[in-house]
Point group: C2
Chain length 390, copies 2
């Protein structure tokens, strides 16, 4: 186990009707006027925004709106939000939505008190020390941004999708999590969210750090819960208990508890970020294509932890040969993703003619050369992994 | 799954040499002068207190000492600490030790800013709103107090051992956790700590709340890690990795993550607290006697979750009869405790002639009548459970 420093200060307010606490929680962050960030019209049509606004009004909190945030959120909306906050004298940001909305809200929160270009933080030119307080009303369990200090933004100029990871500055103060808000999520989005949260755990699980049994077992536990609940939630979208277990798993997947004491990997996320940036695919669905391919490649390069994953998470009997078991694990994961109707090839993802050289080039531009803590990828390796997605 | 609100704001600073960060972390709580609470002479003899003091000095933090805190800590030392803090103008409390030291430090921290008798909080006559900030340097992985908002104190008058549970007021700001500091723990104390942390998880696991798969799987994961690492740590007391995994498991066992979304039980802790209060036994060793007896009793009254525990944690094959499987689970747990040289009967615990009527009377005085969220115990039931420990 490696040394670590871990703090997850977000208050999770979980369950039916909890969105009615949004106003009290927002006032409790010391905010008088917030920027309320949201996505498409469904939050308005469903009545959620009305309930959130009523709660803010009751707590004496004013708000300014920034709606229409799209998946794979872009820097232009962040600049717009920062300008709006400054002009309106906003002292906090409230995200009502999923990962894209939350990540945009965080980027705005970090940008407002900063004199320079907010992108400096994402470009690695500055370290974020402070940000406006951020609160969340979660509507999509997937990205885990409600419990993380991270924010993924795509720069329109060059379509670079970059993840910023802060220790504390961007961790939400609270996350309101009502599983009922996820009943209306379409099947594809539900399944993509499941792939995303599983990937968040697996990026941490596939490590070269030895003897991390406690964190391994926590990670395996959350994965097993997801694998149990996923078919239920796909078959019965309004099953509260299944939705609740998936929602909580999505937070544990990414709030850092599954990574304590070890080096993490994040290669598969990097490979997927290029697919999202170039082809606009849904992040979670992209991960369902990328992860089994990466695991298949790793069967020939560093199979042991992938074999352990197969044994412990999918109950695959140990053959004594790690390569064989790692390939079985990759197949089991692929079969699981197929069972919840996710794509497992680039073609199924809607990318008929991928420009693999471009993807490889952009991956190494963004991630460096070589990249891959679990096993370093050079361009020829990266190309091989992308080819396993065909 | 039940609604819940959960926040664990403690920063865990984990690994080799981390005690050297104590000064910086203490200053980071905004403290200029702290009460340093510790136990016996071993912290001084080992050089730990010297290193902590050097770190405080370097960070410009003064300190006042309160040493000699004993197991099953008592209210007299709390009164002494409160008086000392007030007289010396202390603005924070630093605990260097295990659960008894931390719980004493917390009680002092809660008592200093309160006008009345600190025991009011433990007696349920007042609700703690504020406390001095508390930092921890952990030397015994067992009680989990480094990550909890709880404090267990025994009132000398009547020997009532009472646990106070706060949501936030008593959660430590930081916990320095260096597994090397636990290399010298004697085998009996190591094993007792293991029983204590397992009990913390099981008190949360045995619930009547249905469909808590995600939290169940996390709890089972931490239990499995403990069961894997315990024999290693008993055989090789200086095995860093085994000590590290046990130490981290002890925190996860009690910081609340294993209880999210469900009603908890805590009957076994209540039964054990009477044994500690009357006979002065080691808390964890007492739990190793109490828990299998309670599970055996529950095989006849509410076996399902105990059977699931047996299947998932100990890999006991399902027979289709929950009572049979619950009895097997109790036996497996008893065998595990025996394997790490813990007592599993009152006689082995050193209580030759237990005054069971007294224990029953005190249990219901402290806990109410009936008590037991998993299955309510009336005095005849409580007596039956104590008799199963003979």
């Amino acid at each position: 186990m490696d040394n670590f420093s871990y703090c997850s200060p977000t208050r999770y307010v979980f369950g039916r009707g909890t969105e009615e606490q949004t106003g009290t929680l927002t006032a409790g962050m010391g905010c008088r006027k917030v920027l309320m960030v949201y996505g498409g019209g469904s939050a308005r049509r469903s009545g959620l925004l009305d309930r959130v606004e009523a709660s803010l009004r009751e707590a004496g909190v004013e708000w300014v709106e920034l709606g229409g945030i799209r998946p794979n959120p872009t820097d232009d909306r962040v600049y717009e939000g920062i300008e709006l906050c400054r002009r309106k004298g906003v002292d906090g940001v409230l995200a009502v939505g999923g990962g894209s909305v939350i990540d945009t809200a965080k980027a705005i929160a970090g940008g407002v008190p900063y004199d320079g270009d907010f992108w400096d933080f994402w470009a690695g030119k500055a370290v974020m020390q402070t940000a406006l307080p951020v609160g969340v009303v979660l509507t999509i369990p997937a990205a885990g941004s409600e419990g993380s200090g991270n924010s993924v933004i795509t720069k329109l100029d060059g379509m670079h999708k970059i993840s910023l990871r802060t220790d504390m500055a961007l961790r939400p103060r609270f996350a309101v999590m009502n599983p009922e808000l996820t009943f209306t999520l379409p099947p594809y989005q539900t399944a993509s969210g499941i792939a995303d949260m599983m990937a968040h755990i697996m990026e941490r699980y596939f490590t070269t750090t030895a003897e991390v049994e406690t964190t391994d077992r926590v990670a395996e536990g959350v994965l097993k819960a997801i694998i149990t609940e996923a078919p239920r939630v796909m078959a019965e979208p309004c099953n509260y208990q299944a939705r609740a277990n998936i929602m909580w798993a999505g937070t544990l997947a990414h709030n850092g508890i599954c990574g304590c004491g070890r080096r993490e990997d994040w290669t598969s996320h990097g490979l997927e970020h290029e697919l999202s940036a170039v082809y606009g695919v849904t992040h979670g669905a992209g991960l369902a294509v990328v992860f089994p391919a990466w695991m298949t490649f790793m069967a020939d390069h560093n199979p042991s932890k992938i074999a352990q994953f197969g044994h412990r998470v999918f109950g695959i009997p140990a053959t004594g040969d790690d390569r064989t078991d790692a390939l079985s694990a990759a197949d089991a994961l692929k079969a699981f993703f197929r069972s919840i109707c996710l794509p497992v090839t680039l073609r199924q993802l809607g990318v008929e003619h991928p420009d693999i050289p471009l993807l490889v080039k952009k991956f190494h531009e963004d991630k460096g050369l070589p990249f891959g803590p679990y096993h370093p990828l050079y361009p020829a390796d990266t190309e091989a992994v992308y080819r396993l997605m065909l």
